[in-house]
């Protein structure tokens, strides 16, 4: 055999023993779309109007009074179709979606595999071309799927009824807070019960949405083991308590085994208990909201139930309640009379609505398909493997120099909030530096929600979707960066080196004189040299 050097013999095995990926992300250096404009080009033709219509009504726009006629054409770019495709395809290559990286570094987000078959269902005309106000007889398939997903989630949670109207976890939190308010109003205690108890480890939207609904936010502090402090809670509840809202496990991955005592304390004070099940991925078939004493809960279908995150929605926060709260749900709800599926519109104390129509039905369809692909046993297996993966990762991360996991030393469920405090003290390298350096090895890495109770935090959630080899790859990248931090911190601090973009000069983004939220603002605020 002739090789490029011209020698005869066997080809040498190509060495592949490097531990971190020799990655380089696409960098297209694309202009902003307005810079692609070429007057006279166009991307598509709109449907033509038949001559008979024109003959009948004329130009159509003369019906507009002068005050409503557009004076100046919108300054949209003029671009041929192929160039539009190339522009956006190139931008897409500058995004590290979950189909491309070992997406375990966005802890709390449950970045699992979104099966391709489910995407086909969601994009079929049988889903995409339905209008929400069609006659019920023409959407029986969609209604059956919605109703059955409700039944499945009742099994997972123990709740009695689900609404799929909230368009995300944040909107589900708003829905919970709205139900809490309406519930107490219905009992004549709306003004009195104005205190909403939650924890610092809960999602920022928990406190934020309750504040929108007029509640005073009271934080139950964490004890030295990372649990919400039960004794503190006892001192905080009163006749002013509207509700206690919490995740379990919280983003630490620590399961609060005394949770029933918490819900008992709140119920004894007359408050409701709201369960944020954003971290449900380790609990499917293991333990439920009902037995822990919650009156309501919600699941993010874009987390636990696999629908794609779509750069941040559309999504669904499926909210479930016990029977006594069903009449407070946003309407309408889907029901079944033994023969046909229909909308139940009469809800005595409904909070009204939170999102148009019924929420995001393609998300409902995808989640239904995902559950059917797993069955009861598969759901439980997903939860167990998610926890196994997490404890494997946990074990390995604690062996990395400079990394730790504050609070209890025992097992964690599906995720862990770690800390680089030691690494930062030793080397000056912060969690933000590690974040940027991880991009050089093709990995997302997210720090944590604010406030940073855990110093220099990072949160990993491996889910059930990644193989051991992939977990090992992620661990190897973190190990490599830790070693760099101790030996050559500058390479970490000046990262990213192999990513699409570089460090952004952020000061302009906080200065009203300089910030530019649109291209036209940018052109107005900048001078060409």
């Amino acid at each position: 055999m002739k090789t490029s050097e011209g020698t005869i013999g066997k080809m040498k095995r190509i060495p592949r023993d490097h531990k971190v990926r020799r990655f380089h992300q696409a960098k297209w250096d694309e202009p902003v779309i307005f810079e692609l404009s070429q007057p006279g080009e166009r991307g598509v033709e709109v449907p033509r109007v038949e001559q008979e219509i024109v003959a009948s009504v004329g130009d159509g726009v003369s019906q507009l009074p002068d005050s409503l006629r557009r004076k100046k054409r919108p300054n949209l770019p003029q671009i041929s179709q192929f160039r539009v495709i190339r522009h956006y395809s190139r931008l897409s290559q500058e995004v590290l979606g979950a189909d491309f990286n070992v997406e375990i570094g966005q802890g709390t987000c449950t970045m699992k595999y979104s099966p391709k078959i489910n995407e086909r269902f969601a994009r079929s005309p049988k889903m995409a071309e339905l209008h929400p106000l069609q006659d019920e007889s023409t959407v029986q398939g969609m209604l059956e799927i919605t109703y059955k997903l409700d039944l499945f989630l009742r099994e997972v949670s123990g709740m009695d009824k689900f609404s799929f109207q909230p368009g995300s976890g944040t909107q589900a939190l708003l829905t919970q807070a709205s139900i809490v308010r309406k519930y107490h109003e219905s009992r004549g205690e709306g003004e009195l019960r104005n205190e909403f108890l939650t924890t610092h480890f809960s999602h920022p939207s928990q406190a934020a949405t309750a504040a929108v609904k007029g509640f005073k936010i009271i934080y139950v502090p964490a004890d030295e083991n990372g649990y919400p402090d039960l004794e503190a809670l006892k001192g905080l509840v009163s006749e002013r308590t509207a509700a206690f809202a919490v995740a379990n496990p919280e983003d630490t991955g620590i399961y609060n085994s005394r949770i029933k005592e918490f819900t008992d304390v709140v119920h004894a004070a007359g408050g409701l208990c709201c369960y944020d099940q954003a971290n449900a991925n380790g609990l499917l078939g293991i333990t439920r909201a009902l037995e822990a004493g919650f009156d309501m809960c919600f699941f993010n279908l874009h987390k636990t139930f696999s629908i794609p995150h779509a750069c941040g929605g559309p999504a669904t926060g499926a909210i479930g309640v016990t029977e006594k709260l069903e009449e407070f749900l946003p309407g309408p709800l889907v029901d079944f009379d033994g023969e046909r599926y229909y909308y139940k519109r009469e809800l005595k104390n409904s909070i009204g609505k939170v999102r148009s129509f019924y929420g995001v039905p393609p998300a409902v369809l995808r989640a239904y398909a995902w559950i059917r692909a797993l069955g009861a046993e598969g759901l439980e297996e997903a939860a167990k493997i998610a926890c196994l993966n997490n404890n494997y990762l946990y074990h390995k991360i604690l062996q990395i120099r400079g990394a730790s996991a504050p609070y209890i030393k025992g097992r964690r469920l599906e995720q862990v909030r770690y800390s680089w405090q030691k690494l930062t003290e030793d080397t000056g390298v912060t969690t933000y530096d590690v974040q940027r350096r991880m991009a050089d090895f093709a990995h997302h890495y997210w720090t944590s929600h604010h406030p940073y109770i855990v110093p220099e935090p990072f949160t990993l959630e491996p889910t059930e979707s990644y193989s051991k080899a992939e977990l090992d790859e992620y661990i190897a990248a973190l190990t490599h960066i830790s070693q760099e931090a101790y030996e050559n911190p500058e390479i970490v601090q000046t990262a990213p080196h192999n990513s699409t973009g570089h460090r952004v000069i952020e000061s302009v983004l906080d200065d009203p004189e300089q910030w530019a939220i649109t291209w036209r603002a940018y052109l107005k605020k900048t001078d060409k040299e």
Binding site: P47, S56, L91, A128, G141, E155, A210, A376
Partner: protein, 461 residues
């Protein structure tokens, strides 16, 4: 034959050998030990009542069997609108929003998710041209949420608590706004004039007061009619120290004036008409726009992506403008809340506007007006069938069937049996529009389809 060890295709480490190896490495005897903290009384004892797993092929057959029970708006002729509208969607929109890079991404950073930041910055910039304003947000859930937030922004800016809304607002939108603005803000409804559907200016003047934070109206209104007194309404609001918030259909803005040019301080609307399928209502996506005034910008709860230099000369960078406003940074002390909303539809709307260009948007608006006027003319020529309002309209209009002796329910049932989804029945909407229906006609409707509707109605009424 012995049972083969099974690993679920979606769960790689369910392979028994791997599972065992991992347990061994971390010193566990079984996965069960991980759940030791969960008290026995909280453990689920029985199996969940969920059917056994289907293989991919079985799943495909099963879901298709169910979904094939649906009849779509591509199979029947549909004149349904009322907040979710049929429009022509260029193939490039689906091509881009189905790319896995965008579809499966979430919340990366401006360097390795730069494409997401740029695509959303461009969407903001493209919608900005349409509304002729300098600031547009990363999209929220839908028009109703955009209006709700716009009104809360107005209340914070004016430090007032009363909101004036038109009585002919979509009832569902009113429910959403009511829930979102309670308990601290109050809503008062302003009448509309019976002949044109426009806002009753005398009633508006009577209801404006020293605590009015905002006057909200829509163009076109929920009932399709156009508000021709926009500047007057804005002037009245401003004279009372209130802000003017206008909801708008962006598909109209190739031919209709941008609300900013008749006095709107905050503009909001739905992006679904811009390249997003109806998805049974799942395609809704809300936008908010304002001028580049820090007083307004600092009140947005949404993320606002801005353009910025990077440490590399000649490189565009993108990032969050005034991030400290948000609940991500400040929890309950931030502005309302932010989280997962409808980013993919924002990117799609950007692709749509870049593809349509100024000519496309102008032709779109004109073509819609021609078809809807033609449809209204054909229907109103039927005996006993009348146009409810006399003023101009864009793509929706109200038809009054009350003189036909038939209810809209009966008429729609008869249309359905002929393969037509008729207009939305307004009888139940509490707007004194007994036996009236809202018809939607856009660029997707051919003359043949409009004529088919007229012919069917002629035989029904």
């Amino acid at each position: 034959m012995s049972a083969k060890p099974f690993a679920h295709p979606y769960i790689p480490n369910s392979a028994p050998a791997v599972k065992e190896q991992m347990l061994k490495e971390i010193g566990l005897g079984s996965i069960e030990e991980i759940f030791a903290d969960i008290p026995q009384e909280l453990r689920l004892k029985e199996k969940m009542n969920i059917p056994p797993a289907l293989t991919e092929y079985e799943l495909e057959r099963h879901v298709n069997q169910l979904m094939n029970k649906n009849i779509t708006t591509k199979e029947y002729i549909s004149f349904l609108g009322a907040g979710c509208w049929p429009h022509f969607i260029p193939a490039v929109c689906d091509e881009i929003n189905s790319r896995a890079e965008f579809l499966t991404a979430y919340a990366g950073e401006p360097y390795e998710d730069k494409g997401r930041f740029q695509a959303l910055f461009e969407y903001q910039s493209l919608v900005a041209e349409l509304v002729d304003m300098d600031v547009v947000n990363v999209p929220t859930f839908d028009w109703a949420q955009a209006a709700s937030t716009a009104l809360r922004m107005a209340a914070r800016i004016t430090k007032r608590t009363e909101l004036l809304l038109p009585k002919n607002i979509h009832p569902d939108k009113l429910l959403i706004i009511r829930n979102y603005t309670s308990p601290d803000l109050t809503l008062t409804l302003v009448d509309f004039t019976e002949d044109t559907g426009a806002i009753d200016l005398a009633d508006l003047q009577a209801k404006l007061g020293p605590n009015t934070a905002a006057v909200y109206f829509e163009n076109p209104s929920f009932l399709g009619s156009l508000e021709t007194n926009g500047q007057l309404i804005a002037d009245l609001a401003h004279a009372a120290g209130a802000l003017c918030v206008v909801g708008v259909d962006p598909s109209s803005l190739g031919v209709m004036e941008a609300p900013a040019n008749y006095g709107a301080d905050i503009v909001c609307g739905d992006l679904q008409p811009l390249g997003v399928h109806m998805h049974y209502g799942g395609g809704q996506s809300g936008f908010i726009a304002t001028h580049d005034d820090p007083t307004f910008v600092m009140e947005y709860p949404s993320r606002l992506f801005g353009i910025a230099p990077t440490e590399v000369e000649g490189e565009y960078g993108f990032g969050d403008v005034a991030y400290d406003r948000t609940s991500f940074a400040k929890r309950e002390k931030g502005k309302e809340s932010v989280g997962t909303q409808t980013a993919l539809w924002g990117i799609t709307a950007g692709v749509y506007l870049a593809t349509m260009g100024p000519d496309g948007m102008e032709e779109l608006g004109q073509g819609i007006m021609q078809r809807s006027q033609y449809a209204a003319k054909q229907l109103a020529s039927l005996p006993g069938v009348e146009l409810k309002f006399s003023g101009p309209f864009f793509k929706e209009f109200v038809i009054d069937f009350s003189q036909t002796g038939k209810t809209v329910k009966e008429i729609n049932a008869a249309l359905l049996s002929r393969g037509i989804f008729g207009g939305v029945d307004l009888t139940t909407h509490d707007l004194q529009l007994e036996q009236c229906a809202l018809f939607c006609v856009t660029e997707v409707h051919s003359k043949e389809e409009i004529d088919a509707l007229a012919t069917a109605l002629a035989s029904i009424v």
